[in-house]
Symmetry: C2
C-alpha cells in the first residue's frame, strides 16, 4: 500500500474505487501432512501463516520464493510427497495442485485493500470515502491535534490515519487520512478548505466505500 | 514493521531500543549500463529504485528474487555482461560483485526502523520514546480525537500514529502510537493512566530515541 500511495502522488491520478480482497492461503502438496519436508512460500505469505506452520510443520525446510505464483510453479514441477507450497486457490487451480488444507492463514478476517485509479471524478453515492494527504510545512507539536480537531468539529468520521516520515527532512511527517464523505458534500469541502488554509493538502480521491 | 508489531503483542516482549538503517541500494554488473539485459531484484528493492530503473534501464528484463542476497548470488553465478542486480554494499562485498552505480534508490532520505526487543525495562535517558497500542472497545466517531486530545493537553508530542483494522470485527480499529517521553515520567504515566481508564492500552516499551 505504501508504494501505491507514493505512485498516486507522483502520477497525479485519482482513486476511483476501493475493494477488499480477503487474504486466504492454502497448503498444497502431493501427500500427507507428515510427509512434508520442504515448503515453498513467499515471505509475506509465510508470515501470514506463521501459527499454522509453527504448529503443524515445525521441522519443515522453508524455501522462500518471490511470489505465490512461483511457489505454485515450484510445487507443480516436483513429483514427490516431501514438497508442499502455500498458495492461493486460484494458483492451485491454474497449476493443477492438490489442496490439503484450506484457509491456513492465521487471521480469518484479514483483507488487502486495493485502489482502482484513473483520471475521472467519481460522483457521490451517499456512502463514500475520501483519501487525502496532508503535508504540514511546519512540524511543531499539535499539528496532528489541529488536523484531527478540524474533522471532529465538522462531524466527519476518520476511518484511517497514518503518519509517515516525509523523506525530505528527518523528523518531518506527512499524514495519510481517509474519512467518510465525498468532496462534493458541503461539510467536506468546507473542512478541506479550512485545512488547506493551514497545510498543504492533496485530495487523492472520493470514491464509494467498500466497507 | 506490521509483522514486528504483531509479534510484539503476541510474545509479550518489550521494545528496548530502536535504530534507523538507511535504505541504500547499488547496481552491480560485469559490464557497462548499455550491456545490461537482465536485472535481478527483490520486489521491494525494485520499487525503491523505480525511477532509476525506468530512466536508465527501461528495456531490461526483470527477474524477481526472494531477497537481495539471492539477487547477489544469482549475479555471482553469471559470467556475462548482460546480467545485473540491485544489491546492498554488504552483499556486493560478500559475493565479490562489482558495483557500477552507488545509491540508486529513489529517495535519498529513507530509513527502515528496527526494534531491539527483550524483557527488561530500560531506564530513562532524558531523550526517550514510548510505543503503545490502543484498542478502543467501542468504535464510535471521536475515539481518535479523544486519544489525540489527551496527549495534546498533557503537552506530549506524538511522533507516529497509525490506525489499523483490528482483524476481529470489520470497521473496528486499533492505534499504534509513538510519543516522546518515558513511562517513568510523571506526565506520561498520568496520561497513560487516564487513557487506560477509557481504552485498552498496551505499552510496547520506552526506549532511547534514535532520531
Amino acid at each position: 500500500m505504501s508504494q501505491t500511495l507514493d505512485s498516486l502522488i507522483e502520477f497525479n491520478v485519482k482513486v476511483m474505487k476501493e475493494y477488499l480482497l480477503p487474504i486466504r492461503h492454502n497448503l498444497a502438496c502431493w501427500g500427507k501432512l507428515e510427509d512434508i519436508e520442504v515448503l515453498y512460500s513467499h515471505n509475506l505469505t509465510l508470515s501470514q501463516c506463521e501459527k499454522f506452520v509453527r504448529l503443524y510443520l515445525p521441522k519443515v525446510e522453508i524455501h522462500e520464493t518471490s511470489s505465490n505464483a512461483i511457489s505454485a510453479i515450484e510445487l507443480s514441477n516436483k513429483n514427490d510427497k516431501i514438497y508442499a507450497a502455500l498458495v492461493s486457490k486460484f494458483a492451485a487451480d491454474v497449476y493443477n495442485l492438490r489442496i490439503l488444507k484450506k484457509d491456513v492463514q492465521d487471521e480469518k478476517l484479514n483483507f488487502t485493500r486495493f485502489f482502482v485509479v484513473g483520471n475521472k471524478d467519481v460522483l457521490p453515492t451517499g456512502k463514500d470515502r475520501t483519501s487525502i494527504l496532508v503535508s504540514p510545512s511546519l512540524n511543531k507539536p499539535g499539528v496532528l491535534y489541529s488536523i484531527v480537531k478540524l474533522f471532529y468539529d465538522a462531524g466527519i468520521d476518520l476511518t484511517k490515519i497514518e503518519s509517515r516520515p516525509s523523506k525530505k527532512k528527518m523528523g518531518e511527517y506527512v499524514f495519510f487520512i481517509d474519512f467518510k464523505g465525498h468532496i462534493k458534500e458541503k461539510k467536506v469541502s468546507q473542512t478541506l478548505k479550512e485545512l488547506s488554509s493551514i497545510f498543504a493538502v492533496k485530495v487523492l480521491g472520493s470514491y464509494p466505500r467498500a466497507y
